[in-house]
């Protein structure tokens, strides 16, 4: 009994700091977002007294469905493209000889660690009306001198893919590195085509990495704000831009909260699924180890 309570005390002692820190600075603030979504705004940029459903009704503003739809399609398309690129890349890096693999991995990791404002800005320089790419395209007669490469939804899509692709490649690589490639050879020996061996053996084998990659792109893409802000125009705003605009320009915090609450709910679904998946995994492994002893 005393050892049990001592154990409990020890657990509480090492869990406490992070538990309370995240309770105060993560859980409570998130709840506050939901609460303030039901508060009226004051004309001076503050939060009014009492409770109202008015802010939520404001979300029916005719602009919003278009912005929400754009946010969803940009996130979905960028996720699909990132996965289509990440799977062959992850495979290629995992199967490369050791020295080449180290170089390739370094080349993928450097953009991953590079400041993301700079990576976005690099595209602005590249696509700038007087920039080199535009000049080259005009020179090759591939685009007209007055076409704009910047400030449209496709530029936003391109830069979202550029920004989050390393986040997709790394988990796919991690899974592909552990994959047992003799399984593919076995499938081929048994008469499976290259494509069939790939879809029926390799893809299921690295599914965990693909799933992580999917979340690593889709969720941050839903919350994009800087990318459309810098390379997008008025016709390529996403939910994140509206949240920032309501916060910093109009100073209507209840409205910004209502939008944030909406985004939080959208993110919650995939988040919960991963959490359950992730937490279950180590428990199963642990039980397996225990049974073996």
């Amino acid at each position: 009994m005393t050892t049990l309570s001592k154990k409990k005390k020890h657990e509480g002692l090492i869990t406490g700091p992070s538990f309370f820190w995240l309770l105060i600075f993560f859980i409570i603030p998130t709840l506050i977002v939901f609460a303030i979504a039901f508060k009226p705004a004051t004309p001076f940029g503050g939060i009014g007294e009492g409770w109202t459903l008015g802010t939520l009704f404001d979300l029916r503003n005719p602009n919003y469905p278009a912005i929400i739809w754009r946010t969803v399609w940009l996130s979905l398309v960028s996720t699909v493209v990132c996965l289509l690129l990440a799977v062959p890349c992850g495979y290629c890096i995992a199967r490369a000889p050791k020295r080449l693999r180290d170089v390739l991995l370094l080349l993928v990791i450097v953009p991953f660690w590079t400041n993301f404002l700079i990576r976005i800005f690099a595209w602005k320089v590249l696509l700038h009306p007087e920039g080199m790419l535009k000049q080259a395209l005009v020179f090759l007669h591939l685009c007209s001198p007055d076409a704009t490469l910047l400030y449209n939804p496709f530029t936003v899509l391109l830069v979202i893919i550029y920004t989050y692709l390393p986040f997709a490649i790394l988990p796919v690589y991690a899974a592909a590195e552990k994959f047992d490639y003799s399984l593919i050879e076995a499938a081929r020996d048994l008469g499976a085509s290259q494509f069939r061996a790939f879809t029926r053996i390799f893809l299921p084998g690295i599914s965990r990495g693909v799933w992580t990659a999917l979340l690593m792109v889709f969720i941050p893409a839903l919350g994009s704000y800087v990318i459309p802000d810098i390379v997008g125009g008025p016709g390529s705003e996403m939910i994140g831009n509206k949240i920032a605009q309501r916060t910093f320009v109009d100073r209507n915090l209840p409205h910004a909260s209502a939008l944030s609450a909406l985004l939080t709910l959208a993110v919650m679904v995939p988040l919960m699924i991963t959490l359950v998946n992730h937490y279950r995994q180590p428990v199963v492994q642990r039980k397996g180890k225990g049974a073996a002893q």
Partner: protein, 256 residues
């Protein structure tokens, strides 16, 4: 058996895609034309201008203060969290795991927004302190995850062996476990430091007057002209990143 060449060519194309904008940016940082237009001759004046900019130095100083303090605090708190998650399998740890994992996934803008509302509701003045609090919040999760993955590979029979040989619990922990876990804690700290240095979105929401960090300064330069100076700054930051990543990879290989 013939292997498909598609993966190889995709990887090549992706690497070109990754580096083309960065290379053009670097070339442009030596271009003597204000808006990065056609080549106007070689110059280093953007670099000179950069080093004379006092605001940048001030912003860098703020960034380093926040990054180092936030890293220290999150290393301690995050490591303790990882030990708790690894050692106990209780219902509390299940909730704890959810709390640690969620900040890794939740988009930055939501975290920034919720912290801003939290500080506004409590009437806290926005500034370096609020940025520090926000950074520790997301850094804890990264440190905890990195240390946790290290702990999962740790062979606990080593601890038992040490205790069988007469070491007390604390001595065994300090002399056997800590040195073996240290590379994980250091890797977590390095990750936290870089994330704190780079963070823009969350910082932007919780910063106040006079607490400009480097990413915020870069953002305002992007918005209000001075593109050529950002090119020069970007090249320096790219070089720093490259050196840091290579160094941490060689260090890790030496340890293994």
């Amino acid at each position: 058996m013939k292997r498909s060449r598609i993966p190889f060519f995709t990887t090549l194309a992706v690497l070109v895609f990754f580096y083309l904008p960065l290379v053009i940016l670097s070339v442009n940082s030596f271009n003597d034309s204000r808006y990065g237009g056609p080549w106007n001759g070689f110059t280093v004046r953007w670099y000179v201008r950069l080093f004379q900019d006092r605001q940048i130095w001030h912003a860098l100083q703020n960034t380093l203060i926040i990054a180092s303090t936030a890293t220290l605090v999150s290393m301690v708190v995050g490591t303790m969290a990882a030990f708790a998650l690894n050692r106990y399998r209780t219902r509390l740890q299940m909730v704890h795991y959810g709390m640690i994992y969620s900040p890794l996934i939740v988009p930055d803008i939501l975290m920034g927004m919720s912290l801003l509302l939290f500080f506004v509701a409590l009437n806290v003045k926005l500034g370096l302190v609020t940025i520090f609090l926000a950074h520790v919040t997301f850094c804890i999760s990264y440190v905890a995850m990195v240390v946790l993955s290290r702990l999962q590979d740790f062979d606990f029979s080593l601890m038992e062996a040490a205790q069988d040989l007469g070491a007390g619990h604390w001595t065994a922990f300090r002399r056997v476990m800590l040195p073996l876990i240290m590379p994980g804690i250091a890797a977590g700290g390095l990750l936290a430091f870089t994330l704190s240095l780079d963070d823009f979105v969350i910082t932007f929401f919780v910063s106040g007057p006079g607490s400009t960090t480097l990413p915020i300064h870069i953002y305002s330069m992007m918005k209000h002209g001075a593109p050529a100076v950002i090119n020069a700054l970007s090249v320096i930051l790219l070089l720093v990143t490259f050196v840091l990543v290579s160094a941490s990879r060689t260090m890790r290989e030496k340890i293994q």
